[in-house]
């Protein structure tokens, strides 16, 4: 049986924790609004870009001579770009992205492929380090970045393109969490290189257009392909930022609620043992008086 003083201390500490989780929840809620607008408004551009490229890929594929970024070479070396948060305390957010990446990595390795991992965000690295330590080629830290912009994504995109050009990998996949709502974030894998083809039902509807190019095909592809990768990375980062805040908000909400319950329970025990102590003392006094 803990003493009264122990109980009092415990209640005080849980109360302090609850204050912190409540504050974190409110901060996450405020940040969520900002990151959510950013993520949602970045979607159209990335979607259109994807569509334009898929159209382009389909029209070029018929002629052979496909640039490596578009059509890919072999598929023996895979690069997994795992985007996670820089901070923890956001529920299963980081773990679920890492789990998706880990499952993919294990199944690829089971097929005898080589897997390399590029971590964006410290938390993903922390989780994957133990199992895939040797395969992590780089960790990109975005902790210093306050508002994510195209510049940050572009730097990562360029790095991926440079790695691909150096022949470091054949297939590149991006892992991030798609923001659906505050309580639902969906860990997603998106193939970056080669550009994923459109789903077949969309393909059937339209006649395939043979494009004209201005200035010329090569120059456009040279500009469009790396840009597309940067844009898709930007989208992943923005979706991730919104998901992280959403996940943190609901994690902190349930933490505050748990703390509330714990305070209630502890206060009950505290009052009971205080009452028991008083009763005990009274009995002692009374029986002492009777003995006289």
């Amino acid at each position: 049986m803990p003493s009264l003083k122990d109980l009092r201390n415990r209640i005080a500490s849980v109360k302090a924790t609850q204050k912190i989780t409540k504050a974190m929840q409110m901060v996450a809620a405020a940040k969520l609004r900002r990151t959510q607008t950013a993520a949602v408004s970045a979607r159209p551009y990335a979607d259109r870009m994807e569509r334009v490229l898929a159209n382009l890929a389909a029209s070029i594929a018929t002629r052979g001579q496909v640039p490596a970024l578009l059509g890919g070479g072999g598929d023996s070396v895979h690069l997994l770009v795992v985007c996670t948060a820089e901070r923890g305390l956001c529920g299963a957010f980081n773990a679920s992205i890492a789990r998706l990446a880990r499952e993919a990595a294990l199944s690829l390795m089971g097929q005898g492929k080589t897997v390399k991992i590029l971590c964006v965000g410290k938390k993903g690295h922390d989780i994957l380090r133990r199992q895939f330590g040797g395969q992590i080629i780089e960790v990109i830290d975005l902790r210093a970045v306050r508002t994510l912009g195209f510049g940050d994504a572009d730097a990562i995109g360029r790095k991926i393109v440079a790695l691909h050009q150096a022949g470091e990998f054949d297939v590149g996949t991006l892992y991030f969490s798609r923001f659906k709502s505050v309580i639902a974030q969906i860990p997603t894998a998106q193939q970056l290189i080669p550009v994923a083809a459109l789903p077949p039902e969309e393909k059937a509807g339209q006649p395939r257009a043979a494009y004209e190019y201005e200035p010329d095909e090569e120059e456009i592809l040279a500009a469009l392909l790396p840009r597309n990768i940067s844009i898709q990375v930007l989208r992943a980062l923005l979706e991730n930022a919104a998901s992280e805040q959403g996940a943190r908000m609901s994690a902190m909400d349930s933490a505050s609620r748990n703390a509330g319950e714990m305070i209630k329970k502890q206060t009950m025990t505290y009052n009971r043992s205080r009452q028991a102590m008083i009763t005990k003392e009274l009995i002692e006094i009374i029986s002492g008086a009777e003995a006289l």
Partner: protein, 133 residues
């Protein structure tokens, strides 16, 4: 005039989506106007002004610092690096754009990249002279 579908997006947001009659696009090889049933085309854009004509008397002018335009059977898609209504464009914004390009020139690897960046800067300066800001 027959209308077709236009979507103009910048990385930040969907700027315009709707039926239009004609769109003038500043392509790197020269300005061109897209009408309904234009042949499929993918073009790069130089810094310039996109003129969207929703109706003969209703025109919308937007400054774009570059990007891509895709004409497909389903309509025109413009992927702009940025899109700013012309009345909101001022000297300071243009200065920032010129500064970005100057940086690009300084950091350009290889002659081809440098040539393209220098071209872009000249186009920005030209635009400034034309708009008198």
């Amino acid at each position: 005039m027959a209308a077709f579908h236009l979507e103009l997006v910048s990385p930040e947001k969907l700027v315009f989506s709707g039926e239009v009659e004609a769109v003038a696009v500043p392509g790197t090889e020269g300005e061109f106007t897209v009408l309904k049933d234009h042949a499929p085309l993918i073009a790069m854009m130089k810094p310039g002004v996109v003129v969207i004509e929703e109706a003969p008397a209703k025109k919308l002018r937007l400054f774009v610092p570059g990007g891509f335009a895709e004409v497909a059977p389903s309509g025109l898609t413009i992927l702009a690096d940025k899109a700013l209504p012309l009345p909101e464009l001022d000297a300071a914004t243009l200065d920032v754009e010129v500064g970005n390009v100057e940086e690009e020139i300084a950091g350009a690897k290889g002659n081809e990249a440098r040539r393209m960046a220098v071209e872009k800067r000249d186009q920005l300066r030209e635009l400034r002279a034309v708009l008198k800001i």
